[in-house]
């Protein structure tokens, strides 16, 4: 098996003609607009330097390195980035750092509510996951649903979970998992 790539000539001729970015060469921003934010997250206070307009998602993933919250679409269309703001599910890719204010942010790593524990137990019992990339967001939304409505009907589950996409289509088990979590909570 042979691999042919169009870049072969360029690489072999001794490097590229384009500038080499040096790792220490960080541009001095022309427009300094970085502010200091105090972020309440998973029971701790974090001091965050960021430009206004920075999505909470990237603060969580890249600054705090909590990677359970996923990047899926960046436009609040898939729910993989779902976190709780004062206990309510929100899409962190469309929640800007300056809008968090004094609210408490909970990510999957800090999720400890009885609803969450029931959801995670049900997810394991039913093997809900496949690739798993969306499942942090599914669990965050499911926990939010059960807090609001401990005994949701199938239709109420579908309405609430509609925005959480799963490309593996684990939806049958997500629905069953929420119902099972509801039973676990009742027991």
């Amino acid at each position: 098996m042979e691999y042919r790539h169009s870049y072969e000539g360029e690489i072999r001729s001794g490097g590229s003609a384009t500038p080499i970015p040096h790792p220490t060469q960080i541009w001095t921003p022309l427009r300094r607009n970085v502010l200091q934010y105090s972020l309440q997250l998973n029971g701790k206070t974090h001091s965050i330097e960021a430009e206004p307009g920075t999505p909470l998602l990237w603060v969580i993933r890249d600054e705090l390195k909590l990677t359970g919250t996923k990047f899926g679409c960046g436009v609040a269309s898939c729910g993989a980035c779902t976190v709780h703001l004062d206990g309510e599910p929100v899409r962190s890719c469309q929640t800007l750092i300056e809008d968090v204010g004094g609210s408490e942010v909970t990510t999957i790593e800090g999720l400890e509510s009885p609803e969450a524990k029931a959801v995670q137990q049900a997810w394991v019992e039913l093997d809900v996951v496949q690739c798993g990339y969306c499942q942090s967001g599914q669990v965050m939304s499911a926990a939010g649903l059960l807090k609001e409505n401990p005994k949701p009907s199938a239709e109420e589950i579908d309405d609430y979970m509609w925005g959480n996409a799963c490309r593996c289509a684990t939806y049958q088990r997500i629905r069953a998992g929420v119902q099972r979590a509801s039973e676990i909570m009742e027991a």
Binding site: M1, Y3, H5, S6, E8, I11, S16, T18, P19, I20, P21, H22, P23, Q25, I26, W27, P29, L30, T54, W58, R61, D62, K65, T67, G68, T69, K70, F71, G72, C73, G74, V75, C78, T107, I108, E109, Q120, W123, V124, V128, V129, Q130, C131, G132, Y133, Q135, V139, A154, W162, A165, C166, R167, C168, A169, T170, Y171, Q172, R173, I174, R175
Partner: protein, 727 residues
């Protein structure tokens, strides 16, 4: 060295410090054992003196289950409970970890993971069992024949001890050439519906590490500014706007001019800097066609004599038979381009290692491809390139590109730096939808002739579309006499008994870039075959299930296909339709497995269709992990249905019209009310499950809609753009 995606990392840390016993296959294929320190062996099984057992999994995990299935095979033969085995992903080494159905190529695809591993991993487990028993027999001074392993304990001769105690002793023994495998009747784990996935807990609590989650010290993020149309080339660039972004590092045109690499300290800065970049493009070679032109070319090709006569039979004679038929049913179909859109956008990370090599961190589907490509780019011998395979957030074909495109992109972004910092390449969802490699567009034109008794007497089937395999390294394997098998699979090899079947294929000009997509050719061929079978049954005045069964008899292949059809019909209450409901059925063989689906809807095309339930029957040989088989059917059905309902990629003047999930709408939880999967008990060798659930789903839906909507023919997709509304 492999990196763990482990539930019990602490166990492995302990194991690493102790004597470790490993069983695997040498490059020459002989089973062999070695201590952990040995460089000679690339094992499938690793056993620590603390008793920890690790399966080395050669297939990547994108949700389809090998990280559970392959350990199940080892645990079965070795005598373990499932909570006594863990897994690691194998390093890249095609001599040792090749897919046995791909030649000397390590990779996952074509629903082959279990099919090619079933005997290999059982043998590895059985060899370890025999060697451990032998070591125990030596130590105890008893006959090995009286010993066995149960739940991780060597027992017999009135003694009992954990297997870990014999790991060091067993490591020095000669491995058995042909270890004795269990009879299927002795299986405890294989076929047990209660075996759970090994990766559910980490995927439910946020601790699972996908490639996207890697944070190496000092890493840079790279995103690529891509041309607005495929094959545009970057010829100039102004990054003065990007310099205002905090965290922006630099930007540079890729050596192959395919785009501009934007480097930044973090992902958000990289994405913003990319927006602020001005790029001058040379679009003279870029894709300029619209999807309407692509469709027109395909439809026109269907009316001409096909380029290839796939079955090499007499088209004229078959046409004559059709001319003489009592009834002829005819239909033309069109299938648009589709994107894969796995949940985790493409990404990978490249770093230089202390020994002068390169380490790629990747949810790597085809390790051998990027391994060879990176060796070439960095001008390094193969052994200096290592791949750390991490969990992948879905693929559906996307992570298996014949030219290792995104890993090459990352390597080009890395090669332009001074290589002191790891480079993590990140694709956005817009990159994914707009820059995808798409399921090719295809057209079919079919004429089916029936005799006076309603039996098929001729079947003229013309296919036109874009070959996936031609021009790739897989061409030699899949293209014969000009015919790309992946363009006609599911038609030319149908198990149906079809007298006078002509299959013609015309390759049309390649549009944008193409790639296999969950179930490959079967994505369109199953739809056409099963919608035509329904149209023919209706024309014959016969029940669709009975009509299919009448054309499935006599051979094992046909019996297995008939078997799933009967089971789905029985479990799905075929023919007993509640008021206000309609049913559709489809059955198809793909990747060695047989799947039938009975789909029930309420409503109709005009007032809105709602999918009430799907009853699925699958025959995949021995179902190693039945619950994973069911999950793959559920997911495969959803994947098939979601796309035919409302998804397509269209081009205007060469530019992709869609950008993200708002206009490439994923299947949602409310789209299917229920799925019920039944597995046919079988002693046949395991066959595929990742893809075969997908092909019958869409035609079953089309047939149900037709039944509910005055025989409406849904022949162009997506349905929502072709006369079907959904509730």
């Amino acid at each position: 060295m492999t990196v763990h995606s482990s539930r019990r990392g602490f166990l492995k840390g302990a194991a690493a410090a102790t004597a470790v016993f490993m069983v695997g296959v040498r490059p020459n294929g002989v089973l062999a054992a070695a201590s952990a320190e040995s460089k000679m062996f690339n094992p499938f099984v690793k056993i620590g003196s603390d008793g920890s057992v690790t399966a080395i999994v050669k297939h990547f995990e994108k949700g389809q289950g090998p990280a559970t299935g392959l350990p199940t095979l080892i645990a079965e033969e070795l005598g373990l409970r499932m909570d006594q085995i863990d897994y690691e992903f194998a390093p890249s080494n095609p001599q040792v970890y090749s897919n046995l159905l791909f030649g000397q190529f390590q990779g996952t695809g074509g629903s082959t993971a279990m099919a090619n591993s079933f005997m290999q991993y059982r043998k590895a487990g059985a060899a370890a069992r025999e060697m451990l028993i032998s070591a125990a027999a030596d130590e105890w001074g008893v006959d090995a024949a009286g010993l066995r392993i149960e739940e991780g304990m060597v027992v017999g001769a009135g003694k009992s001890a954990p297997i870990g105690e014999f790991a060091a002793g067993a490591a020095g023994l000669e491995p058995p050439a042909e270890p004795k495998l269990k009879d299927p009747g002795e299986f405890r784990l294989i076929g047990d519906p209660d075996v759970r996935r090994l990766d559910t807990e980490i995927k439910s609590n946020g601790t699972a590490k996908f490639a996207m989650d890697l944070h190496l010290p000092n890493q840079m993020i790279a995103v690529i500014k891509r041309p607005p149309r495929k094959d545009g080339m970057a010829v100039g660039m102004d990054d003065s706007g990007a310099k205002a972004i905090k965290g922006f590092i630099n930007a540079a045109i890729l050596p192959n001019k395919a785009g501009v690499a934007v480097y930044a300290e973090n992902t958000w800065a990289a994405l913003q800097a990319r927006e602020a970049l001005d790029v001058e493009w040379d679009m003279s070679q870029a894709e300029s066609r619209s999807s309407d032109e692509i469709k027109a070319e395909i439809i026109a090709a269907l009316s001409a004599e096909p380029e290839f006569n796939v079955l090499k039979n007499d088209h004229g004679a078959i046409n004559a038979a059709l001319d003489g038929a009592a009834t002829v049913v005819e239909e033309t179909f069109y299938f648009p381009l589709l994107a894969h859109a796995p949940m985790e956008p493409l990404n990978c990370t490249i770093e230089a290692t202390a020994d002068g090599g390169i380490l790629l961190h990747d949810g790597c589907q085809f390790p051998t491809g990027p391994h060879m490509a990176l060796a070439q780019i960095f001008q390094l011998p193969m052994e200096k390139i290592r791949i750390n395979t991490m969990l992948a957030g879905g693929s559906f074909g996307w992570r298996a590109t014949p030219d290792a495109d995104y890993q090459v992109e990352a390597a080009l972004a890395f090669v332009m730096t001074d290589r002191s910092r790891p480079v993590k390449l990140v694709w956005s969802r817009e990159d994914d939808i707009k820059g995808g490699r798409y399921r090719p567009a295809f057209g079919h034109k079919v004429r089916v002739g029936l005799d006076g008794d309603g039996n098929i007497v001729g079947w003229d089937h013309r296919i036109a579309g874009q070959s996936i395999m031609k021009g790739t390294p897989f061409e030699a394997l899949t293209v014969h006499d000009g015919v790309d098998h992946s363009s006609v699979e599911g038609v030319s090899d149908t198990p149906y008994r079809i007298p006078g079947q002509f299959v013609g294929l015309t390759d049309t000009q390649k549009a944008t870039s193409l790639l296999w997509w969950r179930s490959v050719g079967h994505t369109h061929t199953a739809y056409v075959m099963e919608v035509m079978m329904d149209l023919a049954a209706k024309a014959a005045g016969r029940d669709p299930v009975e009509f299919r069964l009448a054309h499935l008899n006599g051979e094992k292949d046909q019996d297995r296909m008939a078997g799933v059809l009967k089971l789905a019909a029985e479990k799905g209450n075929w023919g007993r339709v509640p008021e206000g409901r309609a049913q559709g059925v489809a059955v198809h063989k793909s990747f060695g497995s047989y799947v039938a689906e009975v789909l029930e809807i309420s409503g109709n095309a005009e007032d809105g269709v709602r999918i009430e339930n799907v009853t699925c029957a699958v025959d995949c040989g021995i179902a190693v992990n039945p619950d994973i088989v069911k999950a793959q059917m559920e997911g495969g059905i959803g994947y098939g249905i979601g796309h035919v309902m409302r998804d397509q990629i269209t081009l205007t003047g060469g530019e992709v019209d869609q950008f993200n999930f708002p206009d490439y709408e994923p299947l949602r939880i409310s789209d299917i009310q229920a799925i019920d999967v039944h597995i046919v008990a079988s002693q046949e060798m395991p066959t595929g499950v990742g893809e075969p659930g997908t092909p019958p789903a869409a035609p079953a839906l089309a047939n149900a809609i037709s039944a509910a909507s005055n025989n409406l023919r849904v022949s162009s997709l997506p349905m929502a753009e072709n006369g079907v509304s959904f509730a």
